[in-house]
Symmetry: none
Subunit: 289 residues, 2 copies
Amino acid sequence: MARVGPKLNQSNTLLMISSIYSSLTKTEKKVADYVKSYPEETVLATVTDLSEKAGVGETSVIRFCRKLGFRGFHEFKLSVAQDLVDRPQSVVDTAIDEQDDLMTVARKLTMQHEILLKNTLDLVNADHLRMAVDKLLAATKVYVYGVGSSGITALDLHYQLMRLGLNVEAHRDAHIIAMSAALVKEGDLVFAISTSGSTRDLVDPVKEAKKNGADVICLTGHLRSPIATYADTVLLVSSREMPTEGGALATKFMQTYMLNLLTTLLAMKKEDAIESLEKTARSVADKLY
Amino acid sequence: MARVGPKLNQSNTLLMISSIYSSLTKTEKKVADYVKSYPEETVLATVTDLSEKAGVGETSVIRFCRKLGFRGFHEFKLSVAQDLVDRPQSVVDTAIDEQDDLMTVARKLTMQHEILLKNTLDLVNADHLRMAVDKLLAATKVYVYGVGSSGITALDLHYQLMRLGLNVEAHRDAHIIAMSAALVKEGDLVFAISTSGSTRDLVDPVKEAKKNGADVICLTGHLRSPIATYADTVLLVSSREMPTEGGALATKFMQTYMLNLLTTLLAMKKEDAIESLEKTARSVADKLY
DNA sequence: TGATTTATGGATATTTTCTCCTTGATTATA
DNA sequence: TATAATCAAGGAGAAAATATCCATAAATCA
């Protein structure tokens, strides 16, 4: 018979079976029935397995595959396997439900994170971002401040800037931040991280630092917050709370993204960036098994 | 080690190859390279074909498949076929160029992060994730360990678990980790974070902790790494080989995602989770302007 | 350096796929 | 109704593919 057949990775084989079902012989229909009922088992079966399960001869199985347009049993199985991959659903509600199973939660959470990413991209202000990069590269010394969850982000930024070879110091103790800010000089850069933008322990030191002549960049989720008012450069991340709960989760994630963006741009602009990265990587190489 | 390996129709095999790439032998890497470069050809090839194309013996091809967790070449091909469905995206297409302007970099980086998210979703092993959640909730005390960049992630996890009301402690000093691990008891849970999975300062304490009867969860980018071998539960995130090519950035980002997933699931399963979150939020409310 | 482990591929065994051919059933035709 | 012609179906065994075993080479260790 003429080869009507599907090319791998194109049409839906299970559907195809239905469409030619009426043109199949009695025996071939048995095969078709089994395959449609148990596609997962079919994918793992051999010709002999399938012929037994369907109650037909092996030859009939092969003929069935040929009739569908495949070169043999092997190609047929490959195609059924591809049908089993769940394709991305177009419209999905990403709100996590109490009784969602684990993988559903994972999928929905991934989608939520994707949406957050897109939102933050919309919030990126090219001028402020460029300023931030230039100021970081120009600064005599960079002081990163943050408390609570943002304090940990401050450590992340410190880690990344240090690896790029910048002169940087991070603090997440309110008292030490206050003292540090009292000592900054012109040419220094303060990088304040605060999700709310209203944290006293950060707002006061930022005011102090500005008075002392330092430049101030802030990373926050709220544009109209005290800290954004005092800062010279504002990096904004999406602060929209996630449906389930934790704004904290979303915020941390978006802060990480923004730091990556910043680091990437810095690495592109700083000549010896790659060299610094390699040096730091080598320095811990012998700590591996 | 626990078999995390790929179940058909679940994880992304091409990605899995990248994640264990460093643990492959020279010959096996040849096979991996060919498969990653020509997945379409691979799906239609026989063992002999593939061994010739890759320039290795047939046996090495079979061994390669087994190493990935498949029963044989057949299952391996089936899984690669499934990967080829509807996945034209790759990080390569969004490679950042030297002369890209700032917003282009931002857009490309966002895309890269989206792809990373999807990739890590493919790597999520439901069984291990469920185990991780249950063990975290059941543990008398949770010890989070990490050094370097992963040490900062350890602080993040500590922050999130603490807010959920768990009994948790985090360490990122190699000596203190070693001492802490020497003192863990049955009923305790060690949560080890290591991108490479080969960091001595973590592998040794993990061994020690296991000897002392503690359960071990690890968060790593490499499935076939020492730490994954010793751990009872493995949480895998998408990893990239080259540290200079943004590997470190990607890792931090994906670790954050995985922690969010874990935290979300914990919050869903733990009765007084919301209450704990509210309590901790109120406790810092008066620190705002 | 010699000993021991690990990696590798060729020879070969085993399994699986596929072809050939016989048999039985059904339909068409005289 | 008998006979020819066509078609469906499966078993036997050939062909092809996969997997195992084992000898050898390479790497690592003591």
